[in-house]
């Protein structure tokens, strides 16, 4: 915690570490940490376009589809339980070069002769049978990747961040203190070196997928092996809008996220064993009663 003086009312306000901005608890005016901006300059900010009520409605819709979610979780989509947070992301532009080796299969057709018996007579017929001829192939691939996002927040694991994407960085605005005032804006807690490692790994995975789906010739392929080298441009730091709902689940707190730009809802909801057990019991009961009825009928 650091203590900051509110420029509006003069109150001394405690700012939790890792927070770039928050509101003064006494007069509700915005506190923006200029030192944080100097330490880790934010390049651009994507403002919230999904308001609180809409985020809550999307969350309710998402939970309504989760039949086996515990009731305590299903009731949790309350607008007041949502926190708006500007989450830091590293943005990479990169050129990825990949060499690959694979087996490529090309179809060819063999004419097969076979006999059939029609009206007691044996007839000889032919048919085309598809075969595949396999060839080894080595080659390469290149691609320029723009705006590849890597979470810069320990609070938002990369897997969850990927599920929240895409964000449209075209709608981003150059950083200005007014854009982050009044919103909890987090400080980056994942350093560039670590983020670069994640970016390289993700780009290698993407290259593998692109080569498998669009770059290999022939009708089939197998044994694809790829080796990717990515030249990363220095990353830019952006703040992206996320609604966070902390919900008390049956076994502890759980967290659901709503993309503050697209409305995409992300979260793993636990299943209620009571509900699953109840449904299983009901099914069993129906089956048993059917069996019994048939037994009695005989």
């Amino acid at each position: 915690m650091s203590v900051r003086r509110c420029s509006a009312c003069g109150a001394a306000v405690q700012v939790p570490e890792g927070r770039r901005a928050m509101t003064c608890a006494f007069c509700d005016s915005a506190l923006v940490d200029d030192e944080a901006q100097q330490a880790a300059p934010v390049d651009r900010v994507v403002p919230f376009t999904v308001p609180r009520e809409r985020a809550a409605a999307l969350l309710r819709g998402f939970l309504a589809g989760q039949w086996f979610a515990p009731e305590s979780v299903r009731r949790a989509a309350d607008p007041s339980a949502l926190d708006d947070v500007l989450v830091p992301f590293w943005v990479y532009d990169a050129v990825a070069r990949t060499t690959f080796s694979a087996r490529v299969g090309i179809h060819w057709y063999r004419t097969e002769t076979y006999t059939v018996t029609v009206n007691g007579k044996t007839e000889t017929r032919t048919r085309q049978v598809q075969e595949t001829e396999w060839f080894p192939l080595e080659g390469s691939h290149v691609r320029q990747w723009f705006d590849h996002l890597v979470s810069a927040s320990r609070g938002l694991p990369e897997a969850e961040a990927n599920a929240l994407e895409p964000f449209d960085l075209g709608a981003s605005l150059p950083y200005a203190p007014a854009l982050v005032s009044g919103v909890a804006a987090e400080q980056p807690t994942i350093e560039r070196d670590e983020a670069a490692r994640v970016a390289r790994q993700e780009l290698a995975d993407l290259e593998h997928k692109v080569i498998a789906s669009t770059h290999l010739p022939g009708d089939r392929s197998s044994d694809l092996r790829t080796q990717t080298a990515s030249e990363l441009e220095p990353p830019r730091l952006v703040l992206l809008p996320v609604w966070i709902a902390a919900v008390q689940g049956p076994t502890g707190p759980l967290r659901l996220l709503v993309n503050g730009q697209t409305g995409e809802v992300v979260g793993r909801v636990p299943r209620s064993w009571w509900k699953i057990g109840g449904v299983a019991a009901a099914v069993l009961l129906v089956v048993l009663s059917v069996v019994l009825c048939f037994g009695v009928a005989r």
Partner: protein
């Protein structure tokens, strides 16, 4: 000679032309609208002025001859088109000239003595493109620009808008948009040449374009627009290669006349046949 430049925008089609102040156009070059529709306008901001130009090779007389050949090329064109004194005026169209290096990683299939008759291949080719021209005209359709054909970029010379005697269309294509088009054009050209050079079937490519450098330039055309009924027709002549682009109306009077003639001939034929068969019937009856 240095002169002030003024721009006019056609309130009908939006075509914007810049020319030496004091000169005026009798009508819109793009749609043929009256001079009253041409309103003074400010050139768009943030658009770089052209620095290069391809010179006029075709003369106005040659362009007119090309049009005459076209006007008499179909019997369906109206007679007044043949005799039309269509005024073809010189115009400079905006374009961007880009140079860059392309690295294309490709895979494909080649003919082979395998069972399928094909075998997979892969490779990497590099090429440098000089002064690839990308059209930046806003008023002409992409199909018209494509039909104007290729330009010989080697003839590019320096250009000074202030000493240019011809009207020029103002571009609204930004550098980044032009850059994107140039990149796509270079990738497409390299892809075609690789496909040809290696005899590939079903080519797949991934390309990287680097060292991109571009500058706005002007390319010369002759343009003429005329109205026929309530439609506007436009003709263009590439003033470097002499290539003609244009469409013309079909004469409804001629088509109606031809149709009527056809019907008359058909009716006459039918009547003739009926009359003949009637005569035969009469002859048969009397016989």
């Amino acid at each position: 000679m240095s002169a002030e430049l003024a721009a006019v925008r056609c309130s009908g089609c939006g075509g914007t032309v810049r020319m030496v102040a004091g000169r005026s156009l009798p009508r819109c070059l793009f749609c043929g609208a009256d001079a009253a529709d041409l309103v003074p306008t400010e050139p768009p901001e943030g658009i770089e002025p052209p620095v290069g130009q391809l010179p006029f090779v075709t003369t106005a007389d040659q362009a007119r001859e090309t049009f005459q050949t076209f006007a008499t090329s179909s019997i369906w064109y109206p007679d007044d088109l043949r005799s039309a004194k269509l005024e073809l005026r010189p115009l400079l169209l905006p374009a961007w000239a880009w140079s860059g290096e392309v690295e294309t990683h490709w895979t494909g299939l080649v003919s082979s003595t395998t069972r399928s008759g094909k075998a997979p291949v892969a490779g990497v080719d590099h090429v440098r493109f000089e002064q690839i021209l990308v059209p930046a005209s806003r008023s002409l359709r992409m199909s018209e620009l494509a039909s104007l054909g290729a330009w010989d970029e080697r003839a590019l010379t320096a250009f000074d808008p202030e000493t240019c005697e011809h009207p020029m269309e103002l571009s609204e294509l930004t550098r980044s948009a032009a850059r994107q088009r140039a990149q796509q054009e270079m990738e497409a050209r390299h892809r075609s040449s690789i496909e040809r050079d290696h005899g590939l079937r079903k080519i797949r490519v991934s390309s990287l374009v680097t060292q991109l450098e571009g500058r706005p330039v002007m390319v010369p055309v002759f343009i003429g627009a005329y109205r026929y009924g309530d439609r506007t027709f436009r003709v263009l002549v590439n003033a470097q290669s002499g290539r003609f682009v244009g469409s013309a109306p079909k004469s409804w009077i001629k088509m109606f006349a031809a149709f009527t003639l056809g019907v008359v001939v058909l009716v006459a034929l039918v009547l003739g046949v009926m009359a003949c068969s009637g005569l035969f019937a009469v002859a048969a009856g009397s016989g």
